[in-house]
């Protein structure tokens, strides 16, 4: 077995789950995310000589996965029920034990904000790396992150208020 093959296998085993979570956070469907992430890893192996030198190969996989289904998941949020009717089928599509309210709030974010959230939170990338991945300025990343966090905070507040009253 070649070193490259061993290296890719190790990368795949270690990265599958975090990449999957990041993509689920953006596309809102575990089944779709699994397909897209599998395709992205296949592409990573096809271009492993390049990807292995990438500064953030997991981010490469996530971006590739998202790009492979870009138009689908960008349409997706507009198909979700509006606020106030937000116990959505999408959140329920996933296994139980998830924070459906917060997930729904993430999926309702604009696509770029969802990408930033996914790369920051689920891949733990810093602002500069996210900026390089998305081809945008670091300041723009901070702006998207700030707006996303603000929007998510609004979703968290009612729950916290409920807790406070109890």
């Amino acid at each position: 077995m070649s070193n490259h093959q061993t290296e890719f296998e190790d990368f795949f085993q270690a990265s599958w789950e975090p990449c999957l979570r990041a993509v689920v956070a953006v596309v809102g469907s575990q089944e779709l995310a699994e397909d897209q992430v599998a395709e992205a890893f296949a592409r990573a192996w096809a271009s492993w000589r390049k990807v292995r030198h990438h500064p953030a190969p997991r981010a490469w996989v996530v971006r590739t996965a998202l790009n492979s289904g870009a138009s689908w998941w960008r349409r997706r949020p507009r198909e979700l029920p509006l606020a106030g009717h937000d116990q959505t089928a999408s959140a329920d599509d996933l296994d139980t034990g998830l924070d459906a309210t917060l997930l729904t709030a993430i999926w309702r974010l604009p696509s770029r904000q969802r990408e930033v959230i996914a790369l920051r939170i689920f891949l733990d990338l810093d602002t500069a790396t996210i900026a390089r991945q998305l081809g945008i300025e670091a300041g723009t990343v901070r702006m998207h992150l700030s707006r996303a966090v603000t929007a998510l905070r609004r979703e968290l507040a009612p729950a916290k208020n409920t807790e406070a009253r109890q």
Binding site: R21, L32, A38, I117, R120
Partner: protein, 233 residues
């Protein structure tokens, strides 16, 4: 004071991170399968670089398909002849489909007959079904080469050949064939792979010289045939 004011950015980030903590991940797929898929993609890319472009097929005047069964050799069905196409099995497990450019394609009959050869297909007239994302593997499943009468004479009923190897058809995919009657009098047939569980159909014919958005030059074949144009009858 509203609790809203007391929720820090860190709280939000942690909560968002925790929101997927309960997701059950059934383990990654077999890495060997992923690598095989990657190798297939790399091989297709190399083939494309070697000049196996399907773009030249966009101006042909008739279609012949060579087919093999999806999970093994094609059944020995002999030859099925209709006014619009002929579908014949070959001894090596392949089958050959020839579309008659002077007749309108009967999509229901073609879909049914392809199924008899073990070829899963979605054949439509006046629309084309596509998937997003595009399933990989088309150029391994389908290839084309000229056959039959020369296409040099515009009025000739030429019969180029498209060979399909459904053994290479990725799991969960099928062939999408969309046939359009154009205002020019020609017919346009587009051949793509789709995800059997996720596709949409559009009544707008793709540009005859290209494929639908999202589909690259190795992801499908578009053909013009019949009518008053080159190769028409």
């Amino acid at each position: 004071m509203n609790v809203h004011d007391n929720i820090s950015d860190t709280d939000v980030v942690l909560a968002a991170s925790d929101s997927l903590s309960g997701m059950r991940v059934g383990g990654p797929p077999e890495v060997a399968a992923i690598m095989a898929r990657g190798r297939a993609r790399r091989n297709r890319r190399l083939s494309a670089a070697a000049g196996l472009s399907v773009a030249a097929a966009a101006a042909v005047t008739a279609v012949t398909l060579g087919l093999t069964a999806g999970s093994g050799p094609a059944p020995a069905l002999g030859t099925i002849r209709t006014a619009a196409f002929t579908l014949a099995s070959n001894s090596n497990g392949t089958a050959t489909l020839t579309i008659n450019p002077t007749e309108l394609l009967d999509s229901a009959a073609l879909q049914s007959d392809l199924a008899k050869y073990g070829i899963p297909a979605k054949v439509t007239t006046g629309s084309l079904c596509i998937s997003d994302p595009v399933p990989a593997g088309f150029s391994q499943v389908v290839s084309s080469s000229p056959a039959g009468p020369s296409t040099a004479t515009p009025q000739a009923v030429a019969k180029p050949t498209i060979t399909i190897d459904p053994a290479a058809l990725p799991a969960g995919t099928e062939l999408s064939v969309g046939n359009f009657q154009l205002s020019s009098g020609q017919q346009q047939a587009d051949f793509l792979l789709i995800d059997s569980s996720s596709y949409t159909c559009s009544s707008t014919p793709p540009d005859p010289n290209s494929l639908p958005g999202g589909y690259g030059p190795n992801d499908g074949i578009g053909l013009l045939y019949g009518g008053p144009g080159p190769g028409g009858s």
